[in-house]
């Protein structure tokens, strides 16, 4: 009998929570992005764990999709961060608050 | 012989004209005006064709077209006219060319102005002709947009406020109606449908009817308008350009009354019957209140606007008293009010063109400098205050008579409104036209020109005609009115719920010569 899935899920949950906290507390846009990646990773772990619990590979397939989305997101997001950083000389998200009323 | 589909042509011809206007270069003001006038006249000619092919003795819908539009959702293009909508369409088609004529003083953005006018006409005719709830709602809201712009762009000083107020008031009401329409769609007997004539047979409990009726009523009461939902009206009427005021008063207000006649009452007769006392109370308050407030207005246009509140109170009374006389009178009065108030707004517009003011205090003694205008104004005012042998009297008399047959003493406060109408109109007339002209501007005014006479003469002719010989009008209204009243007075819910409704289901309370519909 291998390790109970609950532990994997617990790990994923904790990582996800850390990702959330990091996203909300850090101000460097790149770092925030990394925490988002962390959350995605946590979710990947959950998918894989569920795949094992259900005894099929569908969960693993979903990890693929998450990966693709994460890759696309990272590419576009980082590009945007770059553009902003070049324009405004900053990667602090609090400095980019023009989009309001 | 295949007949031209008159009704469809009349609905879409203004739109076609508007489209054609779109190709005229915007600098060519004269061409635009002439084209708009010609187009509107052409539409009126088409509507005459419709009137001729209308069969006077028939109560049901005529000249109809029924096409499937979005069959998945039970939406169709269904149109048709009966004695009620016929005159409303005629009124619209009649007043649009006159409004165009009244808009010669528009010099800025002439092209969109006339396009909006024609689009408005199309939408209004569509509302009156639609027999599919979805189509109706579509036209209903479509009429709002051009009017909004007419007020908001070409209006007077407070036009933005007025346009917003107008838009929000009516929209708030009609959204409730939309919800009710959707509810009705799903509760249709059999397949869900938006078809009006199928929906007439929808079985509804009294409680549902009540809610749906109130939702419809909210939309229509704003448009009519009934006190206390009326405050958009004085602002909108006052700030709108002349043509806008004319169309607003003459036709847009009728949308509300028409909606009550066509939808609110026939679809939910039991609820309508139950709420009649409440609505009649509101209408009577409207009559007296509108008249009183009109009395102390300083702005001539506002005064006329408030007089509309009072007049529409009469219309609503006629619609709800539940007698054929009242219903016919109410429908005729819709037409009458359109003519007299439309003409009054044209006249005030003509005054504004000359003096650039609407304040009563700025005028005085005008009968000396503009005798013809004074004469026409007096005639129209007299028609508005219900002088016999002019149109207003016929309608008001039938309404009050119909009211007396069923609610005898309620007639007293309502009829008192006629006295007040004389007070505020004549007082205003005295202040504007009588006396010695006080200022130089008032002395040197020019009288009505050919264009203005051309736009007023047809209205005046109709005012006199309806007053003296209303038979052709009433002949076409009566069968439909009779059918509507029959439906309103028949019990549609089953005996158990119907038992609680006052005077329902017993058949023929009051002056009961209403024949049961075959």
């Amino acid at each position: 009998m291998s390790i109970d899935p609950s532990y994997y899920l617990a790990l994923a949950g904790l990582m996800f929570a850390i990702g959330v906290v990091g996203t909300l507390t850090r101000r460097n846009a790149i770092v925030i992005f990394m925490f988002i990646e962390l959350m995605l990773n946590a979710v990947n772990l959950i998918f894989v764990t569920f795949a094992r619990m259900w005894g099929n590979v569908d969960g693993q397939v979903l990890v693929f999709f998450v990966l693709v989305v994460a890759a696309a997101e990272a590419v576009v997001g980082l590009a945007i961060i770059l553009v902003i950083a070049r324009r405004r000389e900053t990667s602090n998200v609090d400095d980019i608050s023009m989009l309001k009323w | 012989m295949t007949e031209l589909p008159w009704l469809d042509v009349v609905i879409f011809a203004p739109l076609a004209v508007a489209l054609a206007l779109g190709f005229v270069p915007k600098g060519r003001v004269e061409t635009l005006r002439t084209a708009a006038l010609g187009g509107a006249l052409f539409v009126f000619a088409l509507s005459i064709g419709m009137l001729v092919s209308f069969d006077a003795g028939e109560a049901g819908f005529q000249l109809g077209t029924s096409l499937s539009w979005i069959p998945e959702w039970g939406i169709g293009y269904v149109v048709g006219v009966d004695g009620v909508s016929l005159w409303m369409i005629m009124l619209t088609a009649f007043l649009t060319p006159l409004s165009v004529l009244a808009s010669w003083s528009i010099v800025e953005r002439v092209k969109p102005f006339f396009i909006f006018m024609l689009v408005l006409e199309s939408a209004l005719i569509g509302v009156f002709a639609a027999l599919d709830m979805f189509l109706f709602y579509l036209f209903w809201e479509a009429s709002l947009v051009p009017m909004y712009f007419l007020i908001g762009i070409w209006g007077y000083e407070k036009r933005i406020y007025a346009a917003m107020k107008f838009f929000l008031f009516t929209l708030a009401g009609s959204l409730l109606m939309l919800a009710a329409i959707i509810f009705l769609y799903f509760s249709a007997a059999g397949e869900p449908t938006f078809d009006y004539q199928s929906l007439l047979g929808t079985p509804l409990t009294l409680g549902t009817q009540r809610l749906l009726f109130l939702a419809f009523f909210a939309a229509f009461a704003v448009k009519v308008p009934l006190v206390p939902l009326h405050t958009w009206l004085p602002d909108a009427h006052t700030e709108a350009p002349t043509a806008g005021s004319v169309m607003l008063a003459a036709v847009l207000l009728k949308l509300g009354a028409y909606g009550l006649i066509r939808f609110a009452i026939p679809l939910f007769p039991d609820a309508a019957r139950e709420m009649t006392p409440l609505i009649m109370t509101l209408a009577i308050i409207g009559i007296l209140y509108g008249a009183l407030v009109a009395l102390v207005q300083k702005d001539l246009k506002r005064l006329i606007a408030y007089s509309s509140v009072a007049h529409l109170g009469f219309v609503v009374l006629g619609i709800f008293v539940g007698s054929i006389e009242g219903m016919s009178g109410g429908i005729l009065q819709m037409l009458n009010h359109g003519l007299s108030t439309g003409a009054l707004f044209m006249l005030v517009g003509a005054l504004y063109d000359r003096r650039h003011t609407r304040l009563i205090a700025d005028f005085g003694g005008l009968a000396k400098s503009v005798p013809v205008m004074a004469g026409v104004f007096l005639l129209v005012a007299l028609s508005s205050l219900g002088l016999p042998a002019l149109n207003g009297f016929v309608g008001e008399f039938l309404i009050l008579l119909g009211m007396y047959t069923r609610y005898s003493w309620w007639v007293i406060p309502a009829a008192f409104g006629i006295v007040l109408a004389a007070v505020y109109l004549l007082w205003a007339y005295q202040r504007v036209f009588h006396g010695e002209p006080a200022t130089k501007e008032n002395r040197g005014l020019s009288d009505l020109g050919m264009r203005e006479i051309a736009m007023l003469a047809p209205v005046v002719a109709l005012i006199v005609t309806i007053g003296v010989y209303p038979k052709p009008f009433l002949d076409r209204i009566n069968p439909s009115a009779e059918q509507l009243v029959t439906r309103m007075r028949r019990c549609s819910v089953d005996g158990t719920t119907g038992a609680s409704i006052p005077e329902a289901c017993g058949g023929g309370a009051g002056a009961g010569n209403v024949a049961e519909a075959p």
Binding site: A10, M15, F16, L78 | -
Partner: protein, 201 residues
């Protein structure tokens, strides 16, 4: 069995530890490296659960490609940037931590107490092991991906293409700007630039 427990234990500690370390790393490069560590640990977790192929691409794609991209951008913007410690938004930090903790608690509760309600059985680990053995993990995955999930898979390809095109556009603008006035200080200047470019085009 014991080996599995040990591996799991190490993985657990590394994954959680590096995640936490990310939270406190002042330098973005450090944070990125900690993330790489987390991802490698996660790859091991995948392996433990019989997701071999996914574990492989976790390392290749994530830890390899994406994280390199991150580092690349960090380097491009300057490594030495430090975040100020002061939190300018009032209540942001305690609220974030509080809500995060609440979220974690709830997830943990589900993980240990409510799991039967989430996953109502199925074959369990044995079935997956069987699948991994018979067609093999990659083949099973491919069968599912190109069989059952063909359409979503194609959709993701569209997504990627769109992303690539979008990034190219963004990058081109940067180039166009860099060639002329590198940094437009004000919005107005930027507007002028954009307008000028439109005019040129």
């Amino acid at each position: 069995m014991t080996v599995e427990y040990i591996v799991f234990g190490v993985m657990f500690v590394v994954a959680l530890g590096s995640s936490l370390a990310m939270l406190f790393a002042k330098n973005a490069v450090h944070a990125a490296l900690f993330l790489v560590a987390t991802q490698i640990a996660l790859a091991i977790a995948f392996l433990l659960q019989g997701a071999f192929f996914v574990a492989a691409i976790q390392i290749i794609l994530y830890a390899g490609a994406i994280m390199v991209l991150f580092l690349f951008v960090i380097m491009l913007l300057g490594v030495d940037r430090q975040e100020a410690l002061v939190e300018p938004l009032p209540g942001q930090r305690p609220l974030a931590i509080g809500l995060g903790a609440l979220l974690a608690t709830e997830i943990l509760w589900i993980a240990f107490r409510g799991l039967d309600l989430v996953a109502a059985g199925g074959g369990g680990g044995e079935a997956l092991t069987g699948l991994n053995r018979d067609p093999g993990n990659v083949k099973a995955l491919a069968g599912s991906l190109f069989g059952k999930y063909t359409f979503p898979f194609e959709a993701t390809s569209v997504l990627l293409v769109v992303a690539i095109v979008g990034v190219m556009m963004l990058a081109r603008r940067i180039n166009a700007l860099s060639s002329g006035d590198r940094v437009a200080e004000t919005d107005a200047a930027r507007e002028d630039l954009v307008a000028g470019r439109r005019g040129a085009a």
